[in-house]
Symmetry: C2
Subunit: 498 residues, 2 copies
């Protein structure tokens, strides 16, 4: 086989894998949005069959051998192809480390566990889910044996989401972040404003009005009906169905602010997806370098833009008019940014959010290394919540059962949320340095220079550059909690006047 033939074969395999994954994404999107209730069983079989086809292709000998040959002669390839082959080589090698029986067992177990988790959460009874979680953790521990990256066993799982990230790097980062957040929270909690703050009772608005608002908001950020759509689902998410087809969802049943945050967050993902370079489509580079970078894009719009004063200066009058709030801007801005220790990760404010992640990181690390037993989880969860948040969940459903991730076999995913939140702040700080008066743009609702800057710095590279290298290239340094903490201090010292 010539290099050209090998490249052709590798191109074809990637394209076929992509076509199947995109199709599977549509099955998933439909499942969460429009699928009739009783269709769940057949849908699970459709998705699972496509997964098996994708896995088959991924580990096929023909594909593997072509990638290997190209990998050995990668110096002869152009830059893009080098990146493609490097990534494929690593990913296929990893996939092939897992025996077929193991993959099937994991898939079957998580498929069952997901429904059991739902029931357990609904009944708020960890005992229902416990045996399944035990099984999953046994399997994930087995997986770390198969994959066997160097260092801590948990590294073999984190790497799926954050290529190259390790416990050895994360542990000190999270330790530092935790201490600094606790310091900051102490400052906030000692203020008069904090002590007298009250959660605003949110007004209810009709679904149609909220949906209209959500669409207008997404479009005001630069999204268009030509390549994007917005629908309703229980949990907001973003999914890409292919070139020029990205879909986000929101939930309008939990008040105006939740809807607003979800749209800002998911729109950030959508802008990322839409700006991925067309020439990378159907290749492994048509992606984000890591889940952390991906999350940095959603957090950027949700937090740095959407929770900032300039944005609300622009948006508050529009909203006020649409929803007839008759509100006071200063009160609105402060209320929208009030800091509360809460039990639920996805409802957390900017400051508490990372604490939720750190708690989960510590638990996952313990579960995988074997220092924490599944049966002790609820108790350890409560203890850590007490230590970090000063509150404890009243039941399993707002504690250890709140997140879907474990039931789906995702261990090593949570850290990316915190990494992304920190990256987002670093990116925004860099943007402010590079483009003068960017707040003026936001103030006027003009997001073009911001989208272009993100494209130039992040999106147009697809998955070509490792996350850590990309951030260094953009910001001159890697993951830095200090930039994050400085941003929080600066912002919240004004809100809480300390």
């Amino acid at each position: 086989m010539t290099t050209e033939q090998d490249l052709e074969l590798v191109t074809r395999y990637q394209k076929e894998i992509f076509l199947l994954s995109q199709t599977s994404s549509l099955l998933g999107w439909d499942q969460q949005t429009y699928m009739p209730g009783k269709a769940a069983q057949t849908r699970a079989e459709q998705i699972s069959f496509l997964s098996s086809l994708i896995h088959e292709k991924m580990i096929s000998n023909e594909f593997f051998e072509a990638v290997n040959r190209l990998y050995e002669n990668k110096d002869k390839l152009n830059e893009d192809n080098q990146a493609i082959i490097r990534k494929l080589y690593k990913e296929i090698a990893k996939s092939r480390k897992l025996p077929k029986e193991f993959v099937e067992e994991l898939s079957k177990t998580t498929s069952l566990a997901h429904n059991v988790w739902k029931e357990a959460k609904q009944k708020s009874d960890f005992n229902i889910f416990k045996p399944y979680l035990k099984k999953i953790i046994d399997l994930k521990r087995k997986q770390t044996d198969y994959i066997h990256l160097s260092g801590h066993p948990y590294n073999s799982l984190i790497d799926d989401f954050e290529e190259g990230m390790t416990v050895e790097k994360l542990q000190p980062f999270f330790e530092d972040l935790k201490n600094k957040i606790i310091d900051l929270l102490e400052k906030i909690e000692s203020t008069e404003i904090y002590k007298s703050q009250q959660k605003e009772n949110q007004k209810k608005f009709p679904i149609n009005l909220q949906l209209e608002f959500a669409n207008e908001l997404a479009k005001s950020l630069g999204l268009s009906n030509e390549n994007f759509r917005l629908d309703l689902s229980e949990h907001p998410f973003t999914t890409s169905i292919g070139l020029n087809d990205v879909r986000i969802t929101t939930n309008v049943n939990h008040g105006f602010l939740k809807n607003f945050s979800s749209v800002m967050h998911e729109a950030g993902h959508a802008i990322h997806s839409i700006q991925l370079p067309e020439e990378y489509h159907y290749t492994i580079l048509w992606d984000s370098p890591s889940y952390g970078i991906s999350e940095s894009q959603s957090r950027f719009w949700e937090n740095l833009i959407g929770k900032g004063r300039p944005f609300w200066h622009y948006y508050f009058p529009k909203m006020d008019e649409k929803f007839k709030l008759n509100g006071d801007f200063e009160k609105w801005y402060n209320t929208a940014n009030f800091v509360f220790p809460g039990k639920i990760r996805i409802e957390a404010d900017e400051i508490h959010y990372c604490m939720h992640i750190i708690l989960r990181f510590e638990l996952e690390k313990g579960l995988i290394e074997g220092s924490i037993k599944v049966e002790d989880l609820p108790q350890i969860w409560s203890k850590k919540m007490k230590n970090y948040f000063g509150i404890v969940p009243e039941n399993d459903s707002e504690g250890v059962l709140q997140d879907v991730h474990w039931s789906e076999g995702y261990f090593g995913y949570f850290p990316s949320y915190a990494i992304g939140s920190v990256y987002a702040v670093q990116l925004y700080a860099q943007l402010e340095k590079e483009i003068p008066n960017i707040e003026g743009d936001i103030f006027e609702g003009n997001f073009e220079r911001i989208r272009n800057w993100l494209n130039e710095k992040v999106h147009k590279h697809g998955a070509k550059i490792l996350a850590d290298d990309l951030i260094k290239q953009i910001c001159g340094e890697g993951l830095n909690p200090n930039v994050f903490i400085e941003y929080l201090k600066e912002k919240y010292s004004k809100i809480y006047q300390f």
Copy 2:
């Protein structure tokens, strides 16, 4: 391989083919309903890739050989498996008659032709489409050579839609039907009522109200959110995504009556789909015996129920209240059934509809046997329209370009529409014989006995019985135009008073 092993393999193949087809149906549904505009190119690649996977499975040697072994020993199988193997044997043998290169060429040609047809229709210029249609007809003629069923070459195409149906049977049937319809139309056209009738200008209603109405209508027939949904699309259609997941669409931009007819029609398909026996799911029996039977189910609800007096007695007051029509029942019923010669098939009344089909049957037969040339089509179309309808299309877009079928390579499909319309009347006549006072049920909006009867007679057999045998089993005779004509006479002699 033991019979058991062979059956297991055949079961697995059927299931995999079904899972891929259902997934492909979802891609198609989404394309017509929610897909963003610019995603068309990628969507075409996704659908085409799934088609190639399905075709690969369908013609795989392993599958073929197992089916062959079972076919040779089919007497040992139970009744259902006999039917499965008989159908698979025939279908695979047919698929394997077509060389891979031919299938690819046809697929590529029609994929291109479809877009060209759209453009040609929009510009109303047959010349744009002509070279593509020529190519398609060349390929379809080639296909008849490959398939080579006995009798007229067109038989090899009709058989894809109406197993066992031939030109030799259809020609006299259509000839008879045509003459009888022309007679009937002459009677109608000579009445005073016909001469003074006027098309009602339809009131416009808001989209939301129409959509709400469409959903209420579908549900009043017995459909439920648990396994069904209704959305909007340019052309109304029904698609099954799997067990407990059938979807229909309607278009609310062409007035109330068009929306009403579409919902009745597609709901008929949906009831059929939902009542297919669960034990046949993922097998070739989870289907209709033919396109004609399929169409009989939609026509049954659209025409026999939805255009009848008892139904309007039940539905008119509800509708009158919802839409504030302040209408007169008799006037409404007559207007909804007025007969007009029109140029467009899908807008035709019950009587003219079959004339549109007969025209297409005659043209397709001529094109396939070579007695009609593509370049003469518009002229022959006009001539036949003049003869059968007394009107001629003013341009290609309301003439020879009006239907999508040819651009997609569907030749031999149209006859099923007429067959289905006749079957529907035969079924209704039989229903009236077997269940006394069925009009009383309709009058009260109670469709349970009707759905159960259709299930018992048609749906629960899936595709197990050949269409012709099924109709004979239910009605005591096969396709009979006289029953159809008698129904039309009886109904329209009252409306037009002759």
